[in-house]
Symmetry: C2
Subunit: 270 residues, 2 copies
Amino acid sequence: MINNYAIINGDLVLKTDAKIGITDLSIQRGYGIFDFFITIDNQPRFLDDHLDRFFGSASAMHLNNGINREQIKEWIQQLIEKNNLPGSGIRITLTGGYAEDGYTLSNPNLLITQSAFTFNKENFYKGTRLITYEHQRQLPEVKTIDYLQAIYLQPFIKAQHADDVLYYQQGEINECPRSNFFMVTAANEVITPAKNILKGITRKRILGLTGFDVKEAAIHMEQLPTIKEAFITSTTKLVLPVLKIDGKTIADGKPGKTTTEIYQLLAACK
Amino acid sequence: MINNYAIINGDLVLKTDAKIGITDLSIQRGYGIFDFFITIDNQPRFLDDHLDRFFGSASAMHLNNGINREQIKEWIQQLIEKNNLPGSGIRITLTGGYAEDGYTLSNPNLLITQSAFTFNKENFYKGTRLITYEHQRQLPEVKTIDYLQAIYLQPFIKAQHADDVLYYQQGEINECPRSNFFMVTAANEVITPAKNILKGITRKRILGLTGFDVKEAAIHMEQLPTIKEAFITSTTKLVLPVLKIDGKTIADGKPGKTTTEIYQLLAACK
């Protein structure tokens, strides 16, 4: 395997040697934020959108170490050149920092890592199966490192013959742990929940598409049986058709027409 | 400063050198559990209670690395002898382990750390001021590393001239982020919430006291103005009188009679 590097607080290190001290508040208290974007042909995709969200998350969580956007962009570029992984995912994590008392916010640690990643078009046709579960993520609009519930539910998801969980709270769908949810109604409206969610960058692109009746609105659990099509979106999934929810097949169990059109537009989107 | 050691996966290391790789799921996804107990004169206090809860948390969160209780006790003893910190707090943390894909549970990392700690009796007379906040911790009965909301709220707590936050949900008090809540009624009943909480070891001791009318029952927000006394309990706080809630002084603003009696009994408890 070719050497893979990471950047910790500005220092280039082999990923296999990349460590942080155990007094960091991510390890002690699950405290940190991150963002994740992909590169295609060594070009970051929607980098400014991701950095906008990254700095928004950092500010919301009182994580400020004076690092500016240009410095982070320089480090990303350095990593891209050093690793030479043209198709990749890059993750920028900012943790709560080293806390001697194990509780008080300190100077954040900044970690930048890169892994190989390319879209696999076959995934689109395979689609995904969701299982609903009542849960509301805390601080949902912030991209924190909190995936406690999602990872806790992994054995449950598997036992239910599903691929991922779809959270709802008080009868309203909110999101999947790592993706946004969209439904297409019989009248061809494309609807995605407006609130209590993390606002995805792919979701943002879809809300900006012309030629579709796309809107943000509440999706109630009782609407699920009426769904014509459904899909989830994320940076790595792009648009992934939902073929089953709670074991029930949606329509004919194949990617729908609107879902396919949106997928094709997004895949072509720069 | 005298060298302080930690144990990582059985290896004794200087705490200043104690690190874990950044692919660990605690850093990536806030996934891990822990427990914390104190030593007095190098004797762990209520160790088996804490280990019972530790193994319960590990099992609930699918964290199993085959480590048994006797092995952990040996490592704790090794650390106690090596560090020679007669009055201390010892924390045992079990993380989600190194996940290459950043999401799938792996072989957990076990971290044992020790810091100096002794009870400060003056804290009892100073008491504490709480501010209520609507929140329900996820997986409340498991001692996970998730303190995201609590640390996020630190500036809010300070701005409200309070020392800690008291969570409630749908009108019912549950707990503070690191302690259990008790109230004493006009009829001298000592009440602590029964559900949606982490069951503290000090709380367990108080529920077992004779000579008091102690019970587990719901505490509703509207009961707060009627409180005769209130206190919070934890391993390091033992029994700490609550002197103010939401800026309003409880009774005469001094530790109450029942609170003081319970504190004295607990302080003498072996």
